[in-house]
Symmetry: D2
Amino acid sequence: MYFTSDNAAPVPPEVMAELARANDGFTRGYGADQATAAAQEMLREVLDAPDAVVHLVTTGTAANALALAAFCPPWGAVFCHSHAHVAEDECGAPEFYTHGAKLVLVGGDHGRMDALALGTALLRTGAGGVHGVQRGMLTLTNVTEAGTVYTAAETAELAGLARAQGLPVHLDGARFANAVMATGATPADLTWRAGVDVLSFGGTKNGLMGVEAVVFFDPARAWEFELRRKRGGHLLSKGRYLGAQMVAMLQDGRWRHWAAQANAMAALLAEGLATRGVVLRHPVQANILFVEWPVGTSARLRAGGAMFYDMPATEGQEGARLVTSWATTEADVAAFLRLI
Amino acid sequence: MYFTSDNAAPVPPEVMAELARANDGFTRGYGADQATAAAQEMLREVLDAPDAVVHLVTTGTAANALALAAFCPPWGAVFCHSHAHVAEDECGAPEFYTHGAKLVLVGGDHGRMDALALGTALLRTGAGGVHGVQRGMLTLTNVTEAGTVYTAAETAELAGLARAQGLPVHLDGARFANAVMATGATPADLTWRAGVDVLSFGGTKNGLMGVEAVVFFDPARAWEFELRRKRGGHLLSKGRYLGAQMVAMLQDGRWRHWAAQANAMAALLAEGLATRGVVLRHPVQANILFVEWPVGTSARLRAGGAMFYDMPATEGQEGARLVTSWATTEADVAAFLRLI
Amino acid sequence: MYFTSDNAAPVPPEVMAELARANDGFTRGYGADQATAAAQEMLREVLDAPDAVVHLVTTGTAANALALAAFCPPWGAVFCHSHAHVAEDECGAPEFYTHGAKLVLVGGDHGRMDALALGTALLRTGAGGVHGVQRGMLTLTNVTEAGTVYTAAETAELAGLARAQGLPVHLDGARFANAVMATGATPADLTWRAGVDVLSFGGTKNGLMGVEAVVFFDPARAWEFELRRKRGGHLLSKGRYLGAQMVAMLQDGRWRHWAAQANAMAALLAEGLATRGVVLRHPVQANILFVEWPVGTSARLRAGGAMFYDMPATEGQEGARLVTSWATTEADVAAFLRLI
Amino acid sequence: MYFTSDNAAPVPPEVMAELARANDGFTRGYGADQATAAAQEMLREVLDAPDAVVHLVTTGTAANALALAAFCPPWGAVFCHSHAHVAEDECGAPEFYTHGAKLVLVGGDHGRMDALALGTALLRTGAGGVHGVQRGMLTLTNVTEAGTVYTAAETAELAGLARAQGLPVHLDGARFANAVMATGATPADLTWRAGVDVLSFGGTKNGLMGVEAVVFFDPARAWEFELRRKRGGHLLSKGRYLGAQMVAMLQDGRWRHWAAQANAMAALLAEGLATRGVVLRHPVQANILFVEWPVGTSARLRAGGAMFYDMPATEGQEGARLVTSWATTEADVAAFLRLI
């Protein structure tokens, strides 16, 4: 019963198989191989974006930080949710790659940026002329860190506020597949049709060993990106092994099935927990649950073999975060619920 | 007949097997898994360095740049060979990770730094007080970019010059295995016993999909390294797949066998080429050859299916670089020689 | 009636006289001159800190950013008030000089950091291990951006929270003289005796053309500071003209008299405004007033020749900021009050 | 007899007078004052460049580094002479402000870049695609560090090579006035008519306390420059004192007279030294001399009251650098020559 994170799961057998297939003979290096080309083409199709430029890296932090650096100057403000991954979980990677841009934290319930708060932040930033940092770009996260999602319309509203000020928009889609399955929207509707300029398309949390795609819907910045990627040490010489993983995930709609399984298991878990009186702190829309249960519950669950992270809680309660993945089974959920 | 680079080869089946073995069940993330722990322990044994701290990353550029940044301040000079990988092939990654340190180029024949030139550079740097950059650190490369090696004594001489000035020493060992096999020296003699403080221990060019280890013989900087690695986007959440590759390479001395095969094929090629009157521009000591042959030869070889990179040459000649790998066979060499 | 800023005033005649005195014959460059030495010695006396290392720069932004960079690593968090100058008015200079450190905003009324809010921020930062930025340092501002002051005890309380976590403490004293006169405390009590490690000692807002001192109470980081200063282009070759200005200000306690005049005029203005029903948004403790008056007042004042900056206000009111300086006279204040 | 550097001299009385004139009443801050506006306009006239954007800073290092950063990306190569000030005397300021650009050293006798060497460096850089840094910009220095000058035609030739590759060109004119007087060329011919995009126009070495102008002949990058300047802590709040100094220098052609005096004294010194058998290592074209004289001479001169810097020399000789300024007199020169 491993609910610590979606990165605790093994990779599906199809990934191993595709890696084996790619491991045949000699090939060109640095992303000029066939597997990478296939992955790029498949992603353009998935996103209905024939002109998009796609590049692969190994971590979500690299994808996000490189994507932000491609658009935001060192004196720019990156508007992000107060609890965004870029703000709290990347040890300052955005600041590092942008050479010192400033993350401006925008509030909002359940991990979702509040449009009014964003509007206010946009208006305040840069109003002091040369004395303050300038408006740089907007970054949204879907699925959010709270496990909630933005619909296409919600994405478009927030992106629209930024674009009205001439700002580019980034989407951190480390769990994009889960957002697609949760909203039922098309990948295009959740991204470029809603005003997203650059997307971190996650593979790792959805089942790969370590591959994320950075998708530039506007190719203008793509060459600079390549230089930044190399300079950041993120251009792998044997690109085929990244490409192959991404191919394995995109083929036959597997990326949807894996995410659907994770989402379904989270829903099942949420339902079972609610039935047992456990408080869900945020709506459970994808594959992450934030819960509160009575003090002592966590220890009992762990004694029973469950694994998860502790979270702050209201007094008298214990908090926890539970994450499901492609590998979570109904049996896992049932066993966990039995321990409650 | 693929002689473009050692990164064009597939990975040995043992790597695939170890990945499959590691892909079993759930595990802890971010390098806290058993495969990573095993790889770290095996590397400490290989290097006879029980107190060394070992961390894994996916590229040589990341390993080098992060290692340099751990020791050299932004106002420091990194002394490197004029044609070092850090100087010519990393798009400024050392400058990026060190926040602007200056690479001071030191000459020397056949890719090997000249001790007198290093001494002069050390004396000149920092002599202007606050007006110039300060002496930062030394970085050597073994196998060098010219395909030659440093013996343990040669390493110790150069490292000694730096250490006499209080400077730390880095060794770029992207092809360290080939250097070990070429010199017959122990890994310890080629590194910490010769004065090396931090080592980039290469896996990728020796057969892995993309894993390099950074080895701190002095653990004092290791925590800062972890922060820099995370900040650079180089901390993989599913560390087991890096650990497993490294384990596959280190087990049963495979890293030595793979490198020995590459070196042997280079020697065979060198011998055959010399017999046929081809000029070898540098001593062939490991798995890289720089050759000059009459104009027209390159086209003929390529027409016959050979692949390699062009290089500058003296007039009337054509230059080329040939690299062998664990996957190069005697048949490949023979076929290539037949085309000459 | 110039109340825009203390930097709008001319310099006192004593500054011109000292510059003329220093402009005599040839001298050594880069701060090795006698005027700089005299300024450094006088500052050590003023601060009762015989071992302090003192360096001069030309702007408060440079002083602050260089001071922060001397202590806070790129992956560190700088705890500062939500409206600190370093956060809002330096276009990201702290991020630039620290190579990407993160400013963590701490709230508190009237420009003063709330101790509880600081404590919470300290506890939260770095708790995520390598995933988040680490606790870096604390920076306080005295006089604050709201025109209020910290007493020595208040400074010590906040500094103590930081030091308990092993963090160094910076004091932005762009208006330090005004704080000294407002609190009646000694310079030592407001700084190193309260736990301050490094001080930006302001000269420009108190009457100089453009000189600030950075004072290291602990000299350990001073050499690195010199390198960073040079690298930032802030080492002036003709240091005597900075030294002379600082000497002019420190001699005969002028720095106290100038600040006392500014504070007194602010108090007079505050009293007059309060009498006339103008709302003071923050306690007026030094030389800055934030006021609210009925809509239309600002235009009328400007028509009468008054100059000041607009500020946000509650509905139906207009907001303004008024700053006095050494050059503000009772006549200026009286003329202004007549226009209300 | 102070020949250490042109920054050892006092400032001419006209500078003090203009400062006093500017020190009258209140004024707007941050360069929005009348003195700054006057200086900007005078510089546009001097350079015959009515559309140029002019900004003032306090040091040559800041001027150069900010100018380079305005045009060269972090992954760019800055082509400079092997002994350029930016390469040897700024403690890595260009690397700091550009966020890690690489200075590519180009050789050439007597401090002047060799056109063939520049051409070769241009061709080699960036040829490796994403693996190496890209061609960024060219920076020339006139007067060079060796005390020689480029004519307008020589400047145009070198700038032309860069521009043919689409690169912008910077001119470090810390001693630009001396170059103008030495060549007899117009400021326009030595700069924008020769292909220069951005100029560091020196004031400090020619007699000011500390003011340099950065002149953008193409205004496109000027706003970014303002942000970088602020972020670097180089925007002085009391801009009038910079403007006034520059006005003092530009008025009535004083900048020419001061430089002419320095050049004339250097020529007189060179003639006298040559007569006495002293070897001049570089042609003396402006206000710097590099000399070699028999061992023991330096000590004798210093005993007689002369001041200068030692330099490396051929065996049996001593080397020295002598610099003249606006304040050097014929009596100084005569006294020095008597000591030889």
